[in-house]
């Protein structure tokens, strides 16, 4: 039987005294699936992430994360989170290993015996930063920090990993290597992934499903269903011109209309 990681039904939300940021959003993410969430700035992506993480309440409709209230799921350590911008106090004299180990030592993680310190070393190895594990976290590069934050998110032993704009500020080579890392992490832990990004190419090549959000859900299906028209509806301008070529991952490219949509042979025209 398939376990549901996230289930939203008719979710609406408004900040106090303002109009709805999210309106009648329904979507479902099964255990082990990868969902990419795209949409314009102010489209409600971060609000949706906050609701799924249990950081915002006062919404209408229903939200369940592994069959429970998002807050419960958070306190049980079922959800790992990689933030959009690292707001940590990087002047803290913590080594990379100490930062990655942080969730392991929290009460709920200890109770669940989710990960131990030896596994933290494995995680550091997995994300490719074992050699800088002893270095002060404030002295590493942006790309290395992003990897450390993924390792930290995994250290809590989550079943769902939420990544909010994980590749912002990382160069193209770093983004490619980051996509590979997500692939590895997904295969190794059989996690559900929710990736919020502006990078439609990365989302299309990494995720099983894509959700396009601008207050309402405009699209929720396999990336192969994404058309320039859908993107233009969501972003309200010709994203095709703005984003240029979209190179879909070879194994997904065959059935992806973005590749051959009549605007060119080897690109999506998006």
């Amino acid at each position: 039987m398939t376990t549901t990681a996230i289930e939203l039904e008719h979710l609406s939300f408004a900040y106090e005294g303002r109009r709805d940021v999210l309106s009648d959003v329904s979507l479902r993410l099964n255990q082990g699936e990868r969902l990419g969430l795209i949409g314009p700035n102010g489209g409600g992506k971060t609000t949706l992430v906050k609701i799924i993480l249990g950081l915002l309440s006062g919404y209408r409709g229903s939200v369940s994360v592994f069959g429970m209230n998002p807050k419960q799921a958070r306190f049980k350590g079922l959800v790992g989170y990689v933030p959009q911008r690292c707001l940590a106090e990087l002047s803290f004299p913590f080594s990379v290993r100490q930062v990655v180990s942080m969730p392991v030592k929290l009460g709920h993680a200890v109770k669940r015996k989710s990960t131990d310190i030896a596994e933290v070393d494995e995680l550091l190895d997995l994300v490719g930063i074992n050699d800088i594990a002893h270095r002060p976290v404030g002295s590493i590069s942006g790309g290395q920090l992003q990897r450390a934050l993924i390792a930290r998110a995994l250290a809590g032993g989550p079943k769902l990993l939420v990544l909010d704009e994980p590749t912002v500020g990382i160069d193209l080579a770093g983004q490619q290597s980051f996509s590979n890392l997500l692939e590895t992490v997904h295969d190794r832990f059989h996690l559900s992934l929710l990736i919020v990004s502006h990078d439609i190419r990365a989302i299309a090549s990494t995720c099983d499903k894509v959700a396009c959000l601008r207050r309402m859900l405009h699209f929720h299906d396999s990336p192969s269903g994404l058309t320039p028209q859908v993107l233009a509806d969501v972003f309200r301008h010709d994203v095709a011109a703005a984003f240029g070529e979209i190179h879909i991952d070879a194994h997904r490219a065959e059935d992806c209309p973005l590749k051959n949509n009549g605007e060119g042979d080897s690109h999506a025209g998006v």
Binding site: L53, L55, R74, K105, R135
Partner: protein, 312 residues
């Protein structure tokens, strides 16, 4: 040496030893918390909480309270101020620094008004009948700048008991508090109850300020919550080493300042703070060297890694 005579031959020697006894838990607790205060930029909060004691001193003096009762009223003011600051900062209705500024001046105003009221009432027959003939228990000046003689056995015991309490809470909640202090937003997403952490930290700060006031004085109490951590953080970039260095510099500053104040008959709070400031200035070049060492080690690693990558 005058300090030797005071400690070993003076009839008041027990009082001096009680101050030294009290100084040890105060130094240890302040030093540990100061690392968090500096890193989490809570120095102004400490200032607000310590100045809330003005209101408590005024009320305790007006009510003619002494000893533990006097201490309890001051403690209550500080704790209420600390929790009030945490509460408003939690609601985000008013900016935290604005709230602290308001609490700080309001407490001082309350303290000054109550002291003035006490001055005008203290000779009234009904007041004397109700509260007895009262004096400020340790003197206004000693409350502001600290007093060795003002500590006493009660003060030493209170510092030990409450200092131990703060240490136990810090140890018990260390993982949550550190995650909260390092990355509040992520900590919340990882299931840390950040609101609870904020209240706990504020409560610990309030208790530490209260037990430090008698020795260091109200005005300089927050210095003990900043300087040991500031010194240690210049010297190392390893957390455990920072904690140890902070305790060492805190003990050096507090005990050294106490002995200097005995030797030269100076207010202990000012001596402690000046000694810690001197330590901070002396460690400045070492801090620059430490930063260079860390940066060099990072560069070496990068070069080595590039080498490995190239080879592969």
């Amino acid at each position: 040496m005058q300090v030797y005579d005071y400690l070993f031959h003076s009839p008041a020697a027990p009082l001096y030893w009680e101050a030294i006894w009290a100084a040890i838990p105060i130094a240890v607790v302040c030093s540990l918390l100061s690392v968090l205060v500096v890193l989490k930029r809570l120095a102004f909060i400490g200032q607000g909480v310590s100045h809330a004691a003005f209101g408590g001193v005024g009320l305790a003096t007006l009510l003619g309270l002494t000893g533990i009762a006097h201490f309890s009223v001051i403690a209550a003011f500080c704790v209420v101020a600390a929790l009030g600051i945490a509460w408003t900062s939690d609601r985000k209705a008013v900016r935290t620094d604005t709230t602290i500024g308001i609490v700080l001046v309001a407490s001082m105003a309350i303290g000054i008004l109550l002291m003035q009221l006490w001055v005008s009432l203290r000779d009234q027959p009904w007041y004397v009948e109700t509260f007895g003939r009262t004096t400020t228990s340790a003197g206004w000046e000693s409350i502001l700048f600290g007093s060795i003689l003002g500590v006493g056995k009660d003060g030493a015991w209170l510092a030990t008991i409450f200092g131990t309490f703060v240490l136990l809470i810090l140890w018990w909640r260390r993982h949550n508090l550190l995650f909260y202090a390092f990355d509040e937003t992520a900590a919340e997403a990882f299931g840390v109850r950040t609101t609870r952490c904020r209240y706990v930290l504020m409560l610990l700060l309030a208790i530490t300020v209260v037990i430090s006031i008698r020795l260091s004085g109200l005005i300089l109490a927050t210095a003990l919550l900043i300087l040991p951590g500031a010194v240690a953080l210049r010297l190392s970039s390893r957390f455990v080493v920072v904690l140890v260095l902070s305790i060492i510099s805190g003990l050096t500053g507090v005990l050294g300042g106490l002995l200097l104040s005995l030797q030269f008959n100076l207010p202990p709070g000012a001596c402690m703070v000046m000694l810690l400031v001197i330590l901070f200035v002396l460690t400045w070049p070492l801090g620059i060297l430490n930063r260079k060492r860390v940066s060099l080690s990072s560069t070496t690693h990068t070069v080595r890694n590039h080498g490995v990558n190239n080879e592969s």
